[in-house]
Symmetry: C2
Subunit: 491 residues, 2 copies
Amino acid sequence: MFESAEVGHSIPDREYKRELPKLRAELLNTQYALLKDRKFPVIIIIGGVDGAGKGETVNILNEWMDPRHIHTHAFGEMTDEERERPRMWRYWRALPPKGRIGILFGAWHTDPIVNRVMGKTNDAELEPAMQEIVRFERMLVDEGALILKFWFHLSRKAQKKRLQAIEADPKTRWRVTETDWERFRVYDKFRKISEAALRTTSTGHAPWNVIEGSDPNYRYLTVGRAILAALKHRLAGDRPAMTRSAPLPEPALDGRTMLSGLDYGKTLGRKTYRSELEKYQGRLNLLTRHKKFRDKSLIAVFEGADAAGKGGSIRRVTGALDARHYQVTPVASPSDDERAQPYLWRFWRNLPRRGRVTIFDRSWYGRVLVERVEKFCSEEDWMRAYHEINDFEAQLAQAGGIVTKFWVTITKDEQLKRFREREKTPFKSFKITAEDWRNRKKWNDYELAVSDMIERTSNECAPWVLIPANDKYFARIEILKTLCERIEGAM
Amino acid sequence: MFESAEVGHSIPDREYKRELPKLRAELLNTQYALLKDRKFPVIIIIGGVDGAGKGETVNILNEWMDPRHIHTHAFGEMTDEERERPRMWRYWRALPPKGRIGILFGAWHTDPIVNRVMGKTNDAELEPAMQEIVRFERMLVDEGALILKFWFHLSRKAQKKRLQAIEADPKTRWRVTETDWERFRVYDKFRKISEAALRTTSTGHAPWNVIEGSDPNYRYLTVGRAILAALKHRLAGDRPAMTRSAPLPEPALDGRTMLSGLDYGKTLGRKTYRSELEKYQGRLNLLTRHKKFRDKSLIAVFEGADAAGKGGSIRRVTGALDARHYQVTPVASPSDDERAQPYLWRFWRNLPRRGRVTIFDRSWYGRVLVERVEKFCSEEDWMRAYHEINDFEAQLAQAGGIVTKFWVTITKDEQLKRFREREKTPFKSFKITAEDWRNRKKWNDYELAVSDMIERTSNECAPWVLIPANDKYFARIEILKTLCERIEGAM
């Protein structure tokens, strides 16, 4: 969930200064259109780690737009008045009316997360609080509200650096308190708990946007443009379908993605490959025959660009397994029977029982990849799918499933090379079709879809593992190693 | 929630025989239309207490319609296969495809409820299971399914009678097992837990229909007609809005309601009234000043027919209270400010703090009464409101609120008498307007709306108390007494 906000996004000052006047003018105009229209309220929620620029962003939004029509609320300790009412009371009091923008700084998600991190509550108490929030936001959306949720993220290292920088400057020193450092000391716990909280509350109608907080230019422009796009989208429809109110994800402003940040130059010599292959295949074999594995199951998902080498990697995995214990499920277009059911149905049918392994060669992620890019389903359908998929995988994990998802990826040049090779080699030419060339033309659309997918569905209980596969040997060993580590971690 | 299924509904044989042929023909035709259309699957869920005719209803539905196109599944103990997968796996396997009807006998709600009743799980485990179900059904509806949920209910007495009757007949004796009697012994627990479960999972898009199970004619016709109406409603729209798939509530076939079953003849002499009034006002006063009440609050809702005497009753309540501790909130049409917010907003604003009392003279129930009858909001809006209101009241109860809701009711004749009296009496004539007469014309629409409201929102933590108020003295004392008992019960 947070990986996409650790790629080092930044916008140079010159570009920032060039973009800003237009953005400000447009934001202001749109704000007035909203005010005139008075059809729906806009609720902007600001959360995230300390030092990631939450406060500054709130200030700048008030600077960019007309602050007289913005209701900004920061929630700290509860007052007496608030403590004597239901938990949600103070948030109800802060809701903006139709036509207005409310900026809620540390809104309803914050207390349950912080209380959990501080050990004041346990997991069994966190979950109902999150579900209460899901129902609350659903009701707000059904009542017409546009909800925009921004989570400002910093990596551990970046947070430390940032707190130190603020502290070093005499002018800003006052802003770093002992509480900030206390919270920094529980960074890992905070990250883990807030990831789970975000996963539960990131729904199709009110998804979280995770913003990398380290570069001010990047974070201001990103938030500003996301607000602008969502407002325009919503104002354009007269009385749009309820779930349409969700803002669609946008590509990162600096064009960087998790994929572009990968090191595609990693290679492995043939000799090392051979010995590593033997080593990890042996380890994987032993692990899946281990007594403790009888209470677990392994669900390995392979997704990736065409010609990235998924098939070859899968064969190296199955080569390590007892044929009675695994199943490879290749996923193509759904059959008529499958089309007559919810899209997750065909995957539920193929779940392994305990002690077994199922490898999905392509998977339920088709919903947010090909179905999104090719418009086989509606915007609302793929927008809600992230939440449904997270829910599905959480159920798998709950039942002992070790869910591991590989995105096997190559550079665009490497793909071209492989396509041409396949065309030339008679026994490989069946592997390349006109569709592969068509897909290639949509490289950018897919890259955006993949980024969103990873941002919204990678989490601790079912992580995405990105495998740069320009070198097949390197990729295969990475995959085998990851599977071994995941099983070891679970047992 | 179950009160509406304890009014003694029944249909005479002659009427049943007259209605049946038409219903069967229509059901069969509609089933074929569904099959031809192949646009959506129909999921019929059958749950409820033992002996309430669940099995017989499943059989008769298969008899009435073409069983080749009905998938009937009964879920008992989990198989090995099922135990080794996520809990929902076996239900996914049983989902009907588009165009078909699936009858699920003891579906996903059953296990969590039964496990809780049997003490195998606790409340903290029940709640997440229910939320999982809400998400699952939401997903099914978003994927196009029509979900019809029937809960067959019997009062404690009726269940005992029925089990004994089955047991007495040598031909049917085999059907009553020791398990049935075991479950009967925990009737009260089962009732309480299933009520909470139904409240959580009765949503706007997949509401529960509670069916009184004692009379076979009534239960078969009611279920059959509900299925027919929902299918026709859905088949009529080409690609209807998602939440439209919910079946609208229908009036009871025998015309009986909880209101019609009330005893309006109860009266209280003036002298008794005086002494009772003094007694209960004194008791209420002491209770609200009690030390333990400082952690509680009282939220009393007054709804009722025009001229039923809400105002007079409220004055007898406030007469018992310290003016610094209570507030009466009269609810009229929303102001512009209120209209710019979600409909519950104005009620949240007026919640009492701990140790205080708020009396709502009319309330949030306007959403499912006047707004429904006068079509001020859409079907989807009031259909989802039951769930939202239950959620709201559960939050109040959670925070120490003692929520008590009075439906103050009079007969239609009595209303006419009072209207005329008001017109004649100069100092009362301000109380009667053209609108009152207009509302009176919609008596039947309101009666249906009131029945649905009570069925869907009365529950242990926020019960509806029906007050027959043809005799004002009787009504006032009943109200005061109820408030005292509710507070005593909570402290």
